[in-house]
């Protein structure tokens, strides 16, 4: 989906006043005073909090990519004001309320959800929505009115005379009398833009064959993207999809457990690539891959090939051997076999699990499944 931008404003941030009423003091914080601020006003094109959160996330990625802002909401680099209204299909937009100064994507979503529910509640009980400004109390999860004695501020705006109108040109109308440094040509700017998130995702999905979910994951995290690219650079023969699969499933799990970020990852991309190569060559199973990654993440310094030797983690390709494991599984788990035949698929898993355990995870689950099913249908 796309969201329209209807207005862009460049402003200067002002100071903040902190009123300490007990001590009759006001503290004036001018640390942000004079800092350039950009306000982006979107069209009301979003219909729920998820879309709103996605928009904010995407804006963050774009602005970070073009080096405008670090967009760290927790630092105050990016703030969101949400304008919410509800209406029935076919009817015009309802009266909106504005929730100001949301400083995390989570709060954006929560505040919008609350406000939508609030609008519904008011309208369904026969009330009217008042066009007002509200703030979000994250402790209670509710929005509260910021109205000050029903007075509307008249800001007495006038156009800033120190900033002459900004004329923006493109290749078709750039004035020939001006040098390129004297005027703005958006075509020139566009050509100089770095690759934007949408383009990156498109490339990952269509050129590298990744799933949309994985593409989103990579583009949203610069460090992760960097790691991923390093792995592919170390071993260009690897299929991106496979690399990403191991990365997302196994490595991230280790990082999460150890409460580390990818930038702190001890396991070098080069070594990670070796593991992926083994998997791609079908020398090991996915189960083994997981165990291997865990070992190496936790400090194992031996090269992956040696580890496999030591633990005897080679993938079992001998069908006869697999067959034997399967027969044993069927034999030892008659109840499971019976229940499965009665139409309860989850008991099949028990059989597969038996084979995997006995084979130390070195059997291909697809092959195991195939053989087990054959066996079960033969036994009657």
């Amino acid at each position: 989906m796309s969201v329209g931008i209807i207005q862009l404003q460049l402003e200067q941030d002002s100071g903040k006043s902190l009123h300490d009423e007990d001590n009759q003091h006001t503290l004036v914080d001018l640390n942000r005073a004079g800092i350039a601020l950009m306000e982006i006003v979107t069209a009301p094109d979003m219909s729920d909090s998820e879309e709103a959160a996605a928009l904010v996330k995407e804006l963050q990625l774009v602005l970070q990519a073009i080096d405008t802002c670090n967009c760290k909401m927790e630092e105050g680099s990016l703030r969101v004001d949400a304008n919410v209204s509800i209406h029935r299909p076919g009817e015009p937009l309802g009266v909106r309320t504005e929730v100001k100064n949301l400083n995390s994507i989570r709060f954006v979503a929560k505040a919008i959800n609350y406000e939508i529910a609030e609008h519904k509640r008011i309208l369904e009980s026969g009330g009217v929505i008042v066009n007002e400004t509200k703030s979000f109390d994250f402790k209670t999860g509710k929005t509260v009115s910021m109205r000050d004695k029903e007075m509307k501020q008249d800001y007495r705006f006038m156009p800033e005379p120190n900033l002459p109108p900004l004329r923006v040109y493109d290749n078709s109308d750039f004035p020939t009398t001006k040098k390129s440094s004297q005027a703005i040509n958006i075509d020139t700017l566009r050509a100089a833009l770095p690759v934007l998130p949408a383009e990156k995702r498109h490339h990952l999905v269509h050129q590298q064959g990744l799933s949309v979910a994985h593409a989103l994951m990579l583009v949203a995290d610069d460090d992760l993207m960097q790691y991923y690219n390093s792995v592919l650079a170390a071993s260009p023969h690897l299929t991106p999809k496979l690399v990403m699969s191991v990365l997302a499933t196994d490595l991230l799990a280790c990082l999460y457990k150890a409460k580390l970020a990818i930038s702190d990852c001890y396991l070098l991309p080069r070594l990670f690539a070796e593991v992926c190569s083994l998997l791609q060559a079908e020398a090991i199973t996915t189960t083994t891959t997981t165990k291997l990654i865990q070992l190496m993440f936790n400090g194992e310094t031996l090269p992956p090939a040696d580890i496999i030797e030591n633990y005897e983690w080679h993938k079992i390709t001998d069908r006869a051997e697999i067959q034997r494991h399967c027969e044993e599984a069927v034999e030892r788990n008659p109840k499971a076999v019976r229940k499965y035949r009665e139409g309860k698929p989850r008991y099949f898993t028990k059989l597969v699990y038996h084979v995997q355990t006995k084979s130390n995870g070195c059997t291909d689950p697809l092959v195991v499944t195939e053989i087990l099913k054959k066996l079960i249908s033969e036994v009657s």
Binding site: G15, T26, L30, M158, P164
Partner: protein, 537 residues
């Protein structure tokens, strides 16, 4: 050395017959003699002497930084000067020492000029007399010439001015009394029986007229440099808006303010312009085109010049003396072969009202920064932040400033915005179009009076309030600020009372060279007396 031009002195500096130290010392002395005129708020004599010494070193080594290396300059007290008090004539900034210098200050310093001090002005540049300053009013040095004669003659016999066949001669009755200088003249200490210097850049005009400085900068928003130039008998030149950076000039009306120049000759104006003009990245309203410096030609002819006389400038209230001067100069051009014709600027009559609205609106915005928090005056009172702001602003601003803030706030209310602000902007466009139309029809320069007549007395000037005075005084000068076009006041002759009369020349945007060239020709024709108001010689 008395009242030489900067160019003349620069020549002597280069051939060694004068040193910058000599020159600066003499300027300091003249400033001392004329101190009763109250031209300066702050003197920077110590640093001036050391800068003069540095200039002398450079010049004797054959490495002057510019034409004006070693030449004294002064700045109106609304130009920020690093480490030197910048008060804008107001209580609000009387303890303000800027941490940076305005671009024009930096540029002039970078080319070797020597700052003599900061000059007096109407508070925040609001006014046309230089009488509304917390440091007291500035006085016109020519006040003395009237009274001196009166005292010598016993009664006020008018000065005989003969304007025949293009030449003016002044017959000053001979005197037997010993000459007195400004310093000894007690008559000037009379509270109100002296003449105003004009404003709001009166201090700078007086500094140049008395020889306390060779060049002085002022700011011209509605005529604030041209007006006192006319009254004090010096050149006052407002460049095209956008040619000179306003960075560091504490603003009155951002869309009209122009850092402007006082000097005793047109060549000096051009020399100063060359140093200060040109794009400044810190001022987005300066034009980006590379500035092409020029010097004024010495062989001047007006044969191909088309001079326009706008009929609307024939305003009721013009003194006979000014009318005579105007037609005399028009004849000068005519006789020298220029084409002189009547033109029309039909929206002139709306200019002053339009200005009142737009000025007040910008003032309301510009004065918002004075809240006593970061710099400037802060009130002792304040039970709350709002009380602090209110008390600070009440104490810090005079009633002229406060009046304009209130007016501006009113005009900018949502319900009034269309009716006042937008309307005034539309009228402003019409006024600018009047000039565009006239200049595109072949007219090169416009010739008008600068003021209604010669300098009024303080007593008569304060008979009306600041707002009324400003609306009256600015009538001839203000439209040029509306359109942004360059304009210069040229001292052309003395009135019957023996006081200077200035005429204004205006040209199209960015035709500053043509304007100053025309002014130089006029300068050479009128032979305005080199009268020293300090020593009366």
């Amino acid at each position: 050395m008395v009242l030489l031009t900067a160019r003349e002195v620069a020549l002597r500096l280069r051939n060694g017959s004068l040193s910058s130290t000599d020159v600066v010392s003499q300027c300091i002395e003249r400033s001392r003699l004329a101190r009763v005129l109250n031209a300066f708020i702050t003197h920077t004599h110590e640093s001036a002497m050391s800068r003069a010494a540095e200039a002398d070193r450079r010049i004797s080594a054959g490495q002057p930084l510019s034409q004006l290396d070693g030449i004294p300059v002064a700045f109106k007290d609304n130009f920020c000067t690093k480490g030197v008090k910048t008060s804008c004539g107001s209580r609000m900034l009387r303890n303000f020492y800027p941490p940076y210098s305005a671009t024009v200050v930096q540029r002039l310093a970078g080319k070797g000029t020597v700052m003599m001090g900061k000059t007096n002005m109407d508070e925040f540049a609001m006014g046309s007399g230089s009488v509304d300053s917390i440091y007291g009013p500035s006085r016109n040095p020519w006040s003395r010439s009237v009274r001196y004669r009166e005292r010598r003659l016993g009664d006020a016999e008018p000065l005989r001015v003969q304007a025949t066949s293009g030449q003016v001669s002044y017959s000053l009755p001979s005197s037997t009394e010993e000459q007195k200088t400004c310093e000894d003249d007690e008559t000037l200490s009379d509270e109100d029986d002296w003449l105003i210097a004009g404003g709001s850049s009166g201090g700078s005009a007086v500094a140049v007229a008395t020889g306390a400085s060779f060049i002085a900068l002022g700011s011209d928003t509605g005529g604030s440099v041209r007006n006192p130039a006319s009254y004090c008998g010096v050149f006052g030149y407002k460049p095209t808006y956008g040619l000179v950076s306003r960075h560091g000039l504490i603003p009155l009306v951002n869309s009209m303010d122009a850092p402007s120049i006082f000097a005793r000759s047109t060549d000096d104006l051009a020399a100063a312009l060359e140093i200060v003009a040109g794009h400044d990245i810190r001022d987005s309203t300066t034009v980006r085109e590379q500035y092409k410096p020029f010097s004024l030609p010495d062989d001047l002819s007006v044969k191909d010049l088309h001079v326009g006389i706008p009929t609307e400038y024939h305003a009721p209230g013009l003194s006979q003396g000014m009318l005579d001067a105007w037609s005399w100069v028009a004849d000068l051009f005519d006789n020298a072969g220029a084409k002189v014709s009547r033109v029309s600027l039909p929206h002139t009559q709306y200019s002053i009202v339009c200005y009142s609205v737009l000025c007040a609106c910008e003032v309301a915005s510009n004065m918002a920064r004075y809240d006593g928090i970061q710099f400037g005056h802060r009130s002792e009172q304040g039970s709350s932040t709002h009380a602090l702001y209110a008390a600070t602003r009440h104490e810090g601003f005079n009633d002229v400033v406060r009046g304009r803030i209130f007016a501006g706030n009113y005009f900018l209310l949502k319900r009034n915005y269309e009716k006042y602000f937008v309307k005034a902007q539309q009228v402003r466009q019409l006024i600018a179009e009047d000039y565009r139309h006239v200049f595109s029809s072949g007219v090169n320069v416009l010739l008008t009076p600068t003021t209604f007549g010669d300098a009024p007395s303080y007593r008569s000037f304060i008979g009306a309030d600041n707002r009324t005075r400003s609306m009256q005084e600015d009538v001839f000068t203000q439209p040029a600020n509306m359109a942004g076009i360059p304009a210069v006041s040229v001292p052309v002759m003395l009135s019957e009372r023996g006081l200077p009369l200035g005429l204004q020349l205006m040209a199209d945007n960015f035709h500053d060279k043509q304007l100053l060239t025309c002014a130089k020709w006029l300068e050479s024709q009128v032979n305005f007396p080199r009268f020293d108001p300090v020593t009366d010689s």
